[in-house]
């Protein structure tokens, strides 16, 4: 694999390797999402319907993603490795894409635990719901990587990241919850696809401007 995609693959592989060695982000995400689901059980009133619990699933997913995103650029911040990547002749957008794919892998791993747990503890999940989770996760990681890079350049970045991310995540929550609840999820899935397309392209094109002067 040469050229652009090869760069992306090398960068994504690098992130997976780093996580495998350090093992700090993924276990935290998995534990967090499980703990959140348990908290939600106690937070839901007895007569709350299934619909409410789907809403809570999405809150859990968004905040678990935030946890992962907060650490997404941490390896690059140590020893200034981001400068090293930016200096390389490869396209800067490849840095974003590699990071997005790696973050997506971590989020997917956490969801592999979270979704069965949710189905067990709360309500069943059909194909539409799972497709919604998949599509929304794409959007979350695409926008999240970019926004996390912005926050990384700022003071108080831990607080800033959720503030930047949550308004952008609202449409994803709408799409995801809709896909879980509605009898016919196709409208919501199409909307999620639209979001992904618009914001992935925007993030892909804009990343260069976020990491260079």
């Amino acid at each position: 694999m040469n050229g652009y995609l090869g760069d992306v693959a090398a960068l994504a592989r690098k992130d997976l390797k780093l996580e495998l060695r350090a093992r700090d982000t993924l276990p935290a995400m998995v534990l967090f999402v499980l703990a959140t689901l348990v908290v939600f059980h106690f937070a839901l009133p007895a007569d709350a319907g299934d619909d409410a619990s789907y809403g809570l699933l999405w809150i859990a997913l968004v905040f678990t993603a935030l946890l992962g995103l907060a650490r997404a650029w941490a390896p690059e911040r140590e020893a200034g490795a981001l400068d090293g990547l930016v200096l390389a002749p490869s396209d800067r957008s490849a840095i974003w894409l590699g990071k997005t794919l790696a973050t997506l892998a971590f989020l997917a791993a956490a969801e592999l635990v979270a979704l069965p747990a949710f189905a067990l503890l709360f309500a069943p999940l059909d194909l539409g719901a799972v497709a919604g989770v998949a599509l929304a996760s794409l959007g979350i990681c695409a926008v999240g990587s970019l926004v996390a890079a912005m926050a990384a350049a700022a003071r108080g970045r831990e607080v800033l990241l959720p503030l930047l991310f949550l308004p952008l995540a609202i449409p994803l929550v709408v799409g995801g919850v809709g896909a879980s609840i509605a009898d016919d999820p196709s409208r919501y899935l199409a909307f999620l696809g639209l979001y992904d397309a618009v914001f992935a392209i925007l993030s892909w094109a804009a990343f260069e401007y976020v990491v260079t002067e």
Partner: protein, 230 residues
Amino acid sequence: MPLGVVVDAAASPGAAPMQELRRVTDSLVTTATHVIRVESLEKRYGERTVLRNVGFAVRRGETHVVTGPNGSGKTTLLRLLVGLAAPSRGIVEVSLDRARVGYVGHESLLYAELTALENLDLYGRLYRVPERRERVGMLLERFGLWEARAQRVGSFSRGMSQRLALCRALLHEPELLVLDEPYSALDADGAALLDHELAAPDRASTVVVATHEPERLDPVATGRLVLGAR
């Protein structure tokens, strides 16, 4: 002579085209021999002016030494040269693209959780280094890091990290090497290795070094720039 200079209005009409042609030719020749051209450079961060009215040029093959007290903007200048920063005013012209520039900064630019080999392999891939494995191995040996190649960089001593950073910068055989106080983190062995690199007669590259000890580079320095204190 910069390209695009205004034609001298005082010259006679007949002479103007010839003068202009000469100016253009001059500047083309300049670009052919100069790797770096900096003119009236100013760098501001908000209200703080870090560099003011800096100008110099570096020819192919030169070793240009940048000195100045702390806070005089040496690091900022070097970052401007490699493109990690953009000038507020003035011109920074480097006639090479990113693929032919090597940089060693204050930080090692390496991943602590990866091994030396993995770090160099990643950068080798990004810089499209031909025969990557061989080149990585050769550099590791040259800088005395072959034994430590499978160790986490996080476990390296400062001297070793700096040596690895040099390997990273030299991996793609850059035509321009920009080093920001490379000796400050190097141990004695590493410093000797760097001296050797810089003095090598077959060294193809142009070098810009910022340093606190300019005397060390006296044998090889061909140009100097002193940045003023604020």
